[in-house]
């Protein structure tokens, strides 16, 4: 079972990202579980969501304390105490950041990959919502689930122009990170 924790801010599509990730697992006949850890549901407030992916039904319902992967939707959250807590040894961090991956890894003392997801989202969607770009990058990095599955679940969640633009966005984002870099994790 792979456990993932997503950190973001209210309004960044944190829960949607977690749901899409788990939904994509089902597209590939695996099992997924995703749930938010709501604080006060204000825009901009730090929020967390949890995802589990496994080959058998997932029964535990406790929060993810020792994730193999962290997805950070806002780099500033790295300054918030506790955000990287519990990351498994060898765990990886995907960050929405303008810094380079090397800089981030050095700062965090952990293996990190940076993606300028907000800028990309602004360019393609016209809105600073980084979640789908980060998911596309995550899928490329881990090879855990395919880009096709991501496209399929986006189709279930969105429609019209929003869908078209998101499909464009994930295609571009997927190409910006090294494929299979985190495959063994």
């Amino acid at each position: 079972m792979i456990e993932i924790r997503i950190h973001g801010r209210g309004g960044q599509g944190n829960v949607v990202a977690a749901y899409l990730l788990a939904m994509a697992a089902f597209e590939e006949n695996r099992y997924g579980q995703a749930f938010p850890n709501f604080g006060a549901e204000r825009r901009g407030a730090p929020v967390m969501a949890f995802v589990r992916i496994a080959d058998s039904p997932i029964q535990r319902r406790n929060q993810v304390r020792h994730p193999a992967f962290l997805i950070i939707q806002d780099q500033a959250l790295l300054q918030v105490p506790g955000v990287t807590d519990g990351l498994l040894p060898g765990g990886k961090i995907l960050v929405n950041s303008r810094q380079s991956s090397a800089e981030l890894s050095e700062q965090l003392g952990k293996e990190a990959v940076a993606l300028q997801a907000t800028a990309l989202a602004k360019k393609i969607l016209g809105r600073p919502v980084p979640n789908t770009a980060l998911l596309a990058a995550f899928f490329t990095l881990t090879n855990m689930l395919s880009q096709d599955s991501l496209a399929l679940v986006l189709n279930k969640r969105f429609k019209g122009e929003v869908l078209e633009k998101n499909l464009q966005l994930i295609q571009q984002a997927a190409g910006l990170v090294p494929a299979g870099l985190w495959k063994e994790a």
Binding site: A22, F35, I58, Q59, R60
Partner: protein, 390 residues
């Protein structure tokens, strides 16, 4: 077919399968996603019904009461403060023996204000005279919702389907939504013996003097006890149609020879199942899932526990000044056994506190401790409290 759905979304679809004609609800976290999803089904024309956005939970319960009496299948949902605001109507619905189905998205009760999960809300109205069924996962919540309508309409008792707020309502997982045909095969159209009809007028909800009140209460109590058979048969019949069962009144799993059991209610069951794999205990341990808290299945519980030495009751609510709620009832029921097991009673996960897998070894470590105290909140962090409150 397994679909990836948020619990609330699945419940909305399950409710729609039951073809309710009148739905009334007032928004409260964490019930909101259920009624939002139902509103969307109505707006999209996928569910034909009168959806009434009322001005309070009190009116939500009152509207479905009126509608059920006037001959329509109904639905409402609430949580926490909403349950308490409804409390008076809940007793009234039950006393009038009206078949209403309501989801309780279990949440802690203020004060202090908490929007997160525990089961204090439904426990607070355990004596309202409703059937209360607790769900261990979202699949059970879907199947129980459909079963609830048949149970309610056959017994003329209201049914509260309790599912942990956030932990289930906001969790996306694999859920099999039954087909309309399956639901229709299981659930006949709504019928109520005392439907209001101008051609055959009835007076309902009248005053009774001490000459009759006792008899009304007795008959209500008996009806709840008798409902046990209906809860079991609904689960069996639904199994025949869907291939899934929810565990009737209660279900037991684990090694036959186990002398220790952990009794739980609600969604913590899955966590304990995986904890048993992750932290294999020194002795075999059974898990007992209590699904029906009202009626309380004392006889079934006694049969399940008669060979046990220890029963650990883990619950997500308490009665301040007394202790555990379920624990006390389990203790009372098992005391009738020739060789009653020891009952250890703990609360955990209050107001949304996460229950980790590590709770299992903690629970089992209490077996050898002297049981000088009947009840403990097992995950309390005493160092956060001033000395005098510890």
């Amino acid at each position: 077919m397994l679909q990836a759905l948020e619990g609330s979304q699945a419940i909305a679809q399950a409710v729609a399968l039951c073809r309710p004609q009148v739905i009334a609800a007032y928004p409260i976290t964490p019930q909101t996603h259920i009624v939002e999803n139902i509103s969307k089904l109505v707006a999209d024309g996928k569910l034909q019904c009168e959806f009434i956005s009322v001005e309070s939970e009190f009116s939500a319960a009152s509207v479905v009461l009126g509608a059920a009496l006037a001959g329509s299948r109904t639905y409402t949902a609430t949580a926490s403060q909403g349950i308490l605001l409804m409390a008076e109507v809940l007793f009234n619905i039950a006393g009038m023996r009206v078949p209403i189905v309501m989801t309780c998205a279990n949440r802690a009760v203020s004060s202090p204000l908490s929007i997160w999960n525990d089961q204090q809300d439904s426990m607070a109205v355990r004596d309202a005279g409703w059937i209360q069924l607790y769900c261990a996962d979202n699949q059970e919540a879907v199947d129980t919702t459909i079963q609830a309508y048949r149970i309610a309409e056959r017994t003329e008792l209201p049914v509260m389907v309790c599912m942990d707020g956030f932990t289930l309502t906001h969790t996306l997982e694999g859920i099999d939504i039954p087909t309309q045909k399956q639901a229709d095969t299981f659930l006949p159209p709504y019928e109520f013996s005392r439907t209001l009809n101008p051609r055959d007028p009835l007076s309902l909800g009248t005053l009774v003097t001490p000459d009759y009140y006792t008899e009304a209460r007795h008959s209500h109590h008996q009806a709840l006890l008798n409902a046990q058979a209906e809860i079991v048969s609904a689960d069996q019949d639904w199994f025949a149609i869907s291939g899934r069962k929810c565990g009737g009144l209660l279900s037991v799993e684990g090694p036959e020879q186990a002398k220790t059991a952990i009794l739980t209610i609600g969604s913590v069951l899955g966590t304990l199942r995986e904890a048993l794999e992750e932290f294999p205990p020194g002795q075999p341990v059974k898990l007992i899932k209590l699904r029906s808290f009202r009626p309380f299945p004392a006889e079934t519980l006694k049969a399940a526990c008669k060979e046990l030495d220890d029963v650990i009751v883990l619950e997500r609510a308490l009665s301040p000044g007394s202790g555990g709620i379920i624990g006390l009832e389990v203790l009372a029921a098992l005391s009738e056994l020739p060789k009653p097991p020891r009952v250890h009673n703990f609360a955990a996960g209050l107001g949304g506190r996460d229950i980790p897998l590590e709770i299992l070894p903690t629970l089992l470590s209490t077996l050898n401790e002297p049981s000088d105290k009947r009840f403990k909140i097992i995950d309390v962090e005493l160092e956060k409290l001033p000395e005098e409150d510890r």
